[in-house]
């Protein structure tokens, strides 16, 4: 299954999905030292090397620096998929060269979660069951 979204940061990456059915604030929701989620139903899971999926962004613009910091420590997600990205996540992904795609319908989040592997390629999301 292939979904076409809006390419915000181009690039190709493949990995295991981690789907949040909520927004994400990289400042506060993610531990910059370990990559672990600190809040929500997926608390304790690490975003590192996953294909991180979320609805939208929230919180401080410092979130962009946190993405960069995770990246430098090798703890960042491989790619990010959003329903609606914002300038914080866009700036952070651009700084760290993490492929980012948005405009992915919320109704497809379940399909993404049920996939074994997800590939992001410049705006295109492919699901492997």
């Amino acid at each position: 299954m292939t979904i076409h979204g809006r390419c915000i940061v181009p690039g190709k990456a493949k990995g295991i999905p981690l789907v949040l059915y909520t927004s994400i604030s990289f400042l506060g929701d993610v531990d910059p030292e370990t990559g672990a989620l600190l809040k929500g139903s997926k608390a304790g899971e690490r975003v590192s090397n996953r294909i991180l999926v979320f609805t939208t962004e929230a919180g401080s613009t410092v979130g962009a620096y946190i993405i960069y910091r995770l990246y430098k420590r090798g703890l960042a997600p491989r790619a990010m998929i959003a329903h609606q990205a914002g300038s914080i996540v866009a700036a952070g992904c651009a700084l760290a060269g993490i492929p980012l795609v948005d405009k992915i319908p919320l109704s497809l989040f379940r399909d993404i979660e049920e996939s074994k592997l997800v590939e992001v390629d410049s705006g295109q999301v492919t699901l492997f069951k």
């Binding site: 940061v9 620096y65 410049s122």
Partner: protein, 374 residues
């Protein structure tokens, strides 16, 4: 910067431009930039690390670049709740910015530092200064984030969109005053009310006739409560907002969570030299009362001038603590043992409760002088 970092400065604007082909869009050459990325309390270790990496990798700014206030005044250790490790981290942030070629002006009033030139396109990362520059200095700037202002300074350009285009500088609403504000705090409340209308450009008749000290309070409040980037006296907007005395009182009440305060903070945005002079005049023959404190925040430049002119000495003799290059909003004052703070700035009143947990009393400068001195 470690070797594999794929830093793409232009890519930072992909989202606002709604395009991943940012390299082919139109770019404006910048006259100067103001980096917002300064307070260690705000940017934390993640921001400190990015700036350090940049400075060490040899990245330099291409246009004159000033910086926002730091969290604290390094000459007065501990006075704003800062620990030795906080000071060390803040110093490192400032050193990194300096190494990148930015000048450590440490002020939210960059328009007092010779960066102003009518018609200039700039990338300022301080929302109150953005509103001031677009509104009253005939300059062109979007509201930049810490990252985009630094990125713009490094490449010397910014994408030509938003407030850089004349078509976006037309007012969306006209503010009609049914009551003329009578004090600084009422004007600050007016700015706050305009900001809460969810518009980018608003019209207010004869706004330019107001003094700078008032315009600073209006612009900073409008940019804090909303996304206002410009106030103008020109244009024929389709909608209007009628402002009554009652509406301003309600704003002041909504922003006031305390009826008493131990500390009064003025200088958000930073007091200019004439404002320091005015404060010294208001305090003639008076002293800060026992158990009370008045904090005045200003730029290092105005601080130095006020010392040369003897104004600083007058203020200090009256018991006022004058901070240079610091900011009451982003200082770690949650570490200080007082519970509430008085201010005449609606911007400060908006941010202080959430950023440092203090309650706020929003009052005029005149009331602060009456209440806090004898």
């Amino acid at each position: 910067m470690h070797e594999s970092t794929p830093l793409c400065w232009r890519g930072i604007w992909r989202l606002p431009l709604n395009s991943h082909r940012v390299c082919s869009c139109k770019w404006k050459r910048l006259h100067n930039s103001v980096g917002a990325t300064v307070s260690y309390k705000n940017i934390g270790d993640a921001g400190r690390e990015l700036l350090k990496d940049l400075a060490e990798s040899g990245v330099r700014v291409k246009v004159p670049t000033t910086v926002n206030p730091a969290a604290i005044d390094l000459r007065k250790p501990g006075s704003l709740g800062d620990s030795p490790s906080f000071r060390e981290a803040q110093t490192e942030v400032l050193k990194s910015l300096q190494k990148m070629g930015a000048s450590l002006t440490l002020t939210c009033t960059p328009y007092t530092i010779s960066l102003t030139r009518p018609g200039a396109h700039v990338a300022w990362g301080e929302s109150s200064a953005v509103c001031f520059a677009n509104s009253f200095l005939e300059m062109y700037t979007n509201r930049e984030s810490g990252i985009t202002s630094i990125a713009a300074a490094i490449i010397g350009k910014t994408p030509e969109y938003g407030m850089h285009l004349d078509e976006n500088r037309k007012p969306e609403i006209e503010v009609e005053l049914r009551y003329k504000p009578q004090s600084d705090v009422e004007y600050a409340a007016l700015g706050y009310l305009i900001g809460s209308q969810d518009v980018q450009v608003a019209k207010l008749q004869a706004i330019e006739a107001l003094p700078w000290s008032t315009l600073k309070l209006i612009a900073s409040a409008a940019a804090a409560s909303g996304r206002v980037s410009m106030l103008t006296s020109r244009g024929a907007p389709p909608h209007s907002l009628s402002v009554t005395k009652q509406a301003l009182i309600e704003v002041i009440e909504a922003l006031s969570s305390a009826s008493e305060a131990e500390v009064a903070a003025i200088g958000c945005p930073h007091l200019t030299l004439p404002e320091l002079k005015q404060l010294a005049c208001m305090l003639r023959g008076r002293n800060v009362a026992r158990g009370r404190r008045i904090w005045a925040f200003t730029s290092p430049k105005a601080f130095a001038y006020s010392r040369e002119l003897g104004i600083l000495q007058l203020l200090e003799r009256a018991g006022v603590e004058v901070f240079s290059g610091a900011c009451p909003v982003v200082a770690p004052i949650e570490n200080l043992p007082f519970s509430s703070i008085a201010t005449n700035s609606a911007k400060a009143a908006h941010y202080i409760p959430s950023l440092s947990g203090k309650s706020v009393m929003l009052v005029s400068l005149k009331e602060i002088v009456q209440e806090f001195t004898s």
